[in-house]
């Protein structure tokens, strides 16, 4: 499979990363090299092999449904880029 700069721009948009025309060109070369490396996988027959996500075959633990966090709004919002009256500020999204 080979990528085009249009693909790169589409993927970058999905990833919410702005790329200029020149960056898309450069990125295309690097990504194609990496995808070439990944392509080696396709030669392997994996029919019937169960995918592995954790070595220990563990299951998700459940915890009791109780409040464990305390209210630390001021501390947590002290590191935010923009807040007002205890709310996070973002550009207007609803007309």
């Amino acid at each position: 499979m080979s990528l085009s700069t249009t693909d790169v721009k589409r993927i970058a948009h999905l990833a919410r990363i702005a790329v200029s025309e020149a960056e898309a060109e450069q990125t295309l070369q690097k990504l194609s090299g990496i995808l070439g490396l990944i392509e080696q996988m396709q030669a392997v027959d994996t029919t019937g092999i169960a995918p592995m996500s954790h070595s220990q075959d563990v299951t998700q633990r459940l915890r009791t449904d109780v409040v464990t966090e305390s209210n630390q709004r001021e501390l947590l919002q002290s590191i935010a880029p923009a807040v007002e009256n205890g709310l996070y500020l973002v550009p207007k999204v609803i007309e």
């Binding site: 790169v8 990504l31 990944i38 995918p51 590191i79 996070y88």
Partner: protein, 490 residues
């Protein structure tokens, strides 16, 4: 002083030969002197550090001390430490002051260890040379023109230059072991699930694991005793009984079956490195180990599998950096979409963006089966290689990295060449096994410079005590681990 073991330092603290404040000040002075060039630390806070040392001295005076009380430790900047700038090597988190402690940091705090500072690293732990850090490259103390390895390059350089008593690192594809190899120290990646990932900034969650970087296996055993343990806030943390990783240090190695995977000695391994590893294997033979030839046939596939799984998980993990609740936000934007796209374009470096894009691509509609699922299936084949190997042997020996430290800039522009640095380490992460690197000697670079070589020891699940036993026995009959680079000993 600077070459003393953690046990020796603890004895000096216990007998009041030195206080934790004095010991900590000694390291802070060394950092003042050597760090401006080496750049191993990217955040220092003398006030906080010395306050911890003062508190440790009180614990010592009250008889509440344990093995690491009052010991100054360097913390990789991937761990959130309350009130400390925690950047993960990224511009994205330049203004991030951690509002809480990571599980690993809590454990060090609970026993009264001293946080000396936060160490430099590849951005979001993505790199094998520490060159992707937003805060500048780190010099390898053995040759300042060379890289320390990565991503835990700052921790490795800090231990090698004796700018801390010991350090922490994290390892997703070799990020503890490869820098340990390139900087001539000991580093251990535990079995996946032993050390808490809570508050450890996520890169690839199914692979990330924290571990110690120190001067010897004995020191690492003491670090492991503090660092590991169940944490309910980490959903993949394993609930196991607490163990003493130093318990088998003194055991003889007679009868230990040592496997040598032929794939780790094939094309791609530098001749000088191979020679050092062969000499180390001879040493094990003399210690009474039985050498067994084994095969890990899917080794070569570990790189393509890793470069699907790790970027896929990274693209998901790093989607949290949206410029809303914390992290970098662009100065100008017209709408929400532009705010996201510009903030992320400005906040992330080139390698991080590449990996997010690869991950986004392999997870995008229509490609899941061909990439992510396929990679997870081959991941099982790689784990099964080890399962079969451990029927024939107790531990596996081989090189940690195919070469010694390379020059800064040498591979910076070629991601694929950089990725091959991790050919012997990645499979261990994919299988979730423990792996470590210990100094095994020196090999000459093309310019004749003698550079450290690391011997990798891979163990079966939860076999860290046996690996440390094997490493310690070697360190009792060799002195590679006590060697220090020139220019930092005064």
């Amino acid at each position: 002083m600077i070459n003393k073991s953690l046990k020796q330092l603890a004895a000096m603290l216990a007998s009041k030969d030195i206080s934790s404040v004095e010991l900590t000040q000694e390291y802070l002075n060394r950092i003042d002197r050597y760090n401006p060039e080496i750049n191993a630390y990217i955040a220092l806070d003398q006030e906080k550090t010395l306050a911890q040392a003062t508190a440790a001295d009180q614990m010592l005076a009250q008889g509440k001390a344990s093995a690491l009380t009052g010991i100054p430790i360097a913390q990789k900047d991937i761990f959130c430490a309350k009130g400390w700038q925690t950047t993960c090597g990224s511009k994205m988190l330049e203004n991030f002051i951690a509002p809480y402690d990571a599980g690993v940091i809590e454990r060090f705090n609970a026993v009264g260890s001293v946080n000396l500072g936060k160490t430099n690293m590849d951005e979001f732990a993505m790199g094998s040379s520490n060159e992707t850090s937003y805060y500048g490259k780190v010099q390898n103390p053995w040759d300042r023109s060379r890289v320390p390895g990565g991503s835990s390059g700052g921790s490795a350089a800090a231990v090698a230059a004796r700018l801390c008593a010991a350090a922490t690192g994290t390892d997703t594809g070799g990020s503890i072991r490869q820098p340990a190899s390139l900087c001539g120290l000991s580093g251990l990646k535990p079995t996946y699930g032993l050390a808490s990932r809570y508050g450890m900034i996520a890169f690839a969650s199914s692979l990330d694991q924290a571990g110690p970087m120190a001067k010897s296996c004995e020191d690492m055993a003491l670090m492991m005793n503090v660092m590991t343990g169940f944490d309910e806030r980490d959903s993949t943390s394993l609930n196991r009984e607490k163990e003493d990783y130093a318990r088998d240090l003194g055991k003889p190695l007679a009868g230990l079956r040592v496997g040598l995977p032929k794939e780790y000695f094939a094309e791609g391994l530098e001749a000088g490195v191979a020679k050092v590893i062969e000499a180390a294997i001879d040493e094990y033979r003399q210690l009474g180990a039985e050498i067994v030839d084994i095969s890990l046939p899917n080794t070569m596939l570990s790189i393509p599998v890793y470069y699907v799984l790790a970027p896929a998980e990274a693209s998901s993990n790093l989607s949290r950096y949206d410029g809303v609740r914390f992290g970098h936000r662009a100065a100008e934007y017209d709408d929400l979409m532009e705010m996201y796209c510009k903030s992320r374009a400005e906040g992330f470096g080139a390698e991080v963006k590449r990996r997010i894009l690869i991950g986004t691509y392999v997870l995008s509609a229509g490609y899941y089966d061909a990439y992510y699922l396929k990679a997870q299936q081959i991941r099982r084949l790689i784990a099964q290689d080890f399962e079969r190997a451990f029927e024939q042997c107790d531990i596996i020996l081989g090189p940690t990295a195919p070469s010694t430290a390379f020059k800064a800039g040498e591979k910076a522009d070629d991601p694929v060449a950089m990725y091959l640095q991790d050919i012997y380490t990645i499979a261990v992460n994919l299988a979730g096994l423990p792996g470590m690197s210990i100094p095994a000697g020196f090999a000459p670079a093309d310019d004749g410079k003698e550079l450290p070589v690391g011997l990798q020891i891979i163990g079966n699940y939860f076999d860290e005590a046996r690996m440390l036993n094997a490493g310690h026995a070697y360190q009792q009959v060799t002195d590679w681990h006590t060697r220090m680079p020139e220019g930092v000993t005064s």
